[in-house]
């Protein structure tokens, strides 16, 4: 199960709950007494069926929503509002259509009063890293869906966030584009040395996506964390690597959690594949 909060964790949630009141006056529990901790520099995927509370959890970490009960700390500070140290990439297109691409990438830096030359340098660097230097002066309407995602990724990286929150960011793009975006994201994430990597929390319902990206997979169901898998396969993860026995077992476990297979696969998973004994 989810590991208890440790001292050096960058994100620490303790007995975190969030309820909503629906229009019909019913109370819905989106997040139910969740406790976990996330190591700095870890790439964590949150996997679960639709409505399991994974997006709610991400919004709480982002500070776009406040918990009903429990505590949540990021880098030792209680989360009460959004902040630039926690960058977010949304599922919908969030790129401002009234700003040119490069001005979008600079936006957060400009808001915080970073000098013109410095923020331009940073924006140009990250645009180059996501392969969009040639459209820096274009309007977002002139870009494809996949390119807009690259802009969003470049924007959070340029903004210097230590914690990156991605809410099904590539859910609406085609398979090939999605694979390319994984490469872009992983390249940006791994290019920093392993001790200064940014912490990533990536929400997805795509099992293969989680296995390609994650160091650790938290599985959610009905507002609770029901499983915690450590994915230790070496990077970069190739198609062959995904067919290794441990990866296949992970996949069976995840599919069982999503209700696509019976729990047999999960039961067969060896203890060594779990994060904790």
């Amino acid at each position: 199960m989810a590991r208890a909060a440790g001292g050096r964790d960058v994100i620490v949630a303790s007995k975190l709950s969030r309820t909503f009141r629906r229009a019909d006056k019913q109370t819905v529990t989106a997040l139910d007494d969740v406790t976990f901790g996330i190591d700095p520099g870890q790439f964590v995927c949150l996997v679960g069926p639709s409505g399991c509370g994974k997006s709610t959890l991400l919004k709480l970490i982002a500070g776009l929503m406040l918990p009903s009960a429990g505590t949540l700390e990021v880098e030792g500070e209680s989360v009460t509002q959004p902040g630039p140290e926690r960058g977010m990439v949304f599922q919908q297109d969030s790129v401002f259509p009234w700003l040119r691409v490069i001005d979008n990438v600079e936006y957060g830096l400009k808001c915080r009063g970073v000098g013109r030359a410095e923020r331009r340098r940073s924006a140009e660097f990250y645009l180059e890293r996501v392969g969009l230097s040639h459209v820096a002066r274009a309007w977002p309407r002139e870009l494809s869906g996949g390119m807009l995602k690259r802009v969003a990724v470049a924007t959070v990286f340029a903004n210097g966030a230590n914690v990156l929150l991605l809410d099904e960011p590539f859910g609406a793009v085609d398979y090939v584009t999605k694979r390319n975006l994984h490469d872009v994201l992983l390249a940006l994430w791994t290019e920093a040395g392993s001790d200064e990597r940014r912490t990533v929390v990536f929400v997805t319902h795509d099992v293969d996506e989680a296995l390609i990206l994650a160091d650790r997979i938290l599985v959610m169901h009905s507002g609770r964390i029901v499983d915690d898998l450590a994915v230790t396969a070496p990077r970069p993860r190739t198609t062959d690597g995904l067919m290794e026995p441990t990866m296949v077992r992970h996949k069976h476990v995840l599919l069982a959690h999503l209700g696509l297979e019976d729990a047999k696969g999960a039961a067969e998973a060896p203890a060594g594949a779990r994060a904790d004994p």
């Binding site: 776009l64 959004p82 977010m88 969030s94 309407r141 903004n159």
Partner: protein, 290 residues
């Protein structure tokens, strides 16, 4: 010169329609010869408009610039008429645009206050909604007594008329700003003021286009309405003065001057908004070629 000819050629259909309308007016003036009072035709033909009427506008020249006014005993002259049109136009246009600008700024700020916080909503929303229901033109006498019959009263009146429209437009447009942009700005570290300046303002502008065009029209109506009552200058003053003597031809000329100014202001706004809206997906859209 080449450019001018090209422009005319591009708009040849519109120009033909305009000429046809002018011709119809002339035909109407020869068929329908009734007079409001003896010597003042109901439908003044162009031969009257461009001679007697134009000359008669020198009656409203207030003197100065070494051009003596009719009131000082000088005969009517085209120079005095031209100066008179310019003089009164400037008064009206200054009242209009200062009022428009102030109304737009105040209306926009109040409209944004409704979504700024719960407290600003409580303070602003109801009183302004209440002000909005007051019939605009019926308020002219009150504004005159409060602010006087000169510039301040007219500007305040135009500002009020335009401000309430901007308020309603902004409140509505802000509701339609997609939450995703606000969330994105917040997670990137923008303050509330920065969000209003860099997200809300540009996001509402496409929707505000309609409001701004509407307020240009309301602005003209408001400034004229204000000038009808008690002003000593301005195009509205010329109209109301003409009405007392049934000078239909002078009213007609002033109406043409309005059309001229309004066309210019719409054209400028169109250019400006097109520049500001280059980013919209609709920019340069064509529904069907042909």
């Amino acid at each position: 010169m080449k450019w001018l000819i090209a422009q005319f050629w591009r708009r040849r259909i519109s120009i033909l329609v305009l000429l046809a309308m002018a011709g119809l007016w002339q035909i109407l003036s020869t068929i329908y010869t009734a007079e409001a009072v003896p010597g003042e035709p109901m439908v003044p033909g162009w031969q009257i408009v461009f001679s007697r009427t134009l000359l008669s506008l020198s009656d409203y020249w207030r003197g100065g610039l070494n051009v003596p006014s009719v009131a000082e005993g000088a005969p009517q002259s085209y120079l005095a008429a031209l100066l008179s049109i310019l003089d009164h136009s400037v008064d009206t246009i200054v009242r209009l645009y200062v009022g428009l600008l102030m109304g737009a700024i105040v209306g926009t700020l109040l409209g944004m206050a409704v979504s700024w916080s719960r407290w600003t909503r409580r303070i602003v929303d109801l009183p302004v909604q209440f002000l909005r229901t007051l019939p605009l033109l019926a308020m002219v006498p009150m504004f005159q007594l409060w602010f006087g019959i000169d510039f301040v009263g007219k500007i305040a009146f135009v500002g009020y008329g335009v401000g309430v429209i901007f308020f309603a437009g902004v409140v509505n447009a802000v509701k339609n700003v997609p939450q995703i942009y606000i969330d994105n700005a917040r997670t990137l570290g923008a303050s509330r003021l920065q969000i209003y300046r860099t997200v809300v303002l540009p996001a509402i502008f496409p929707e505000m286009r309609g409001t701004i065009l509407l307020s240009l029209g309301i602005g003209w109506a408001a400034v004229l309405g204000a000038e009808y009552l008690g002003a000593q200058s301005g195009l509205g003053y010329i109209i109301i003065y003409s009405e007392q003597f049934a000078y239909l031809d002078r009213m007609f000329v002033v109406a043409l001057i309005f059309v001229f100014y309004a066309s210019i202001s719409y054209a400028i706004f169109d250019r400006l908004s097109r520049l500001l809206l280059r980013w919209t997906p609709q920019a340069g859209r064509v529904v069907a070629h042909g």
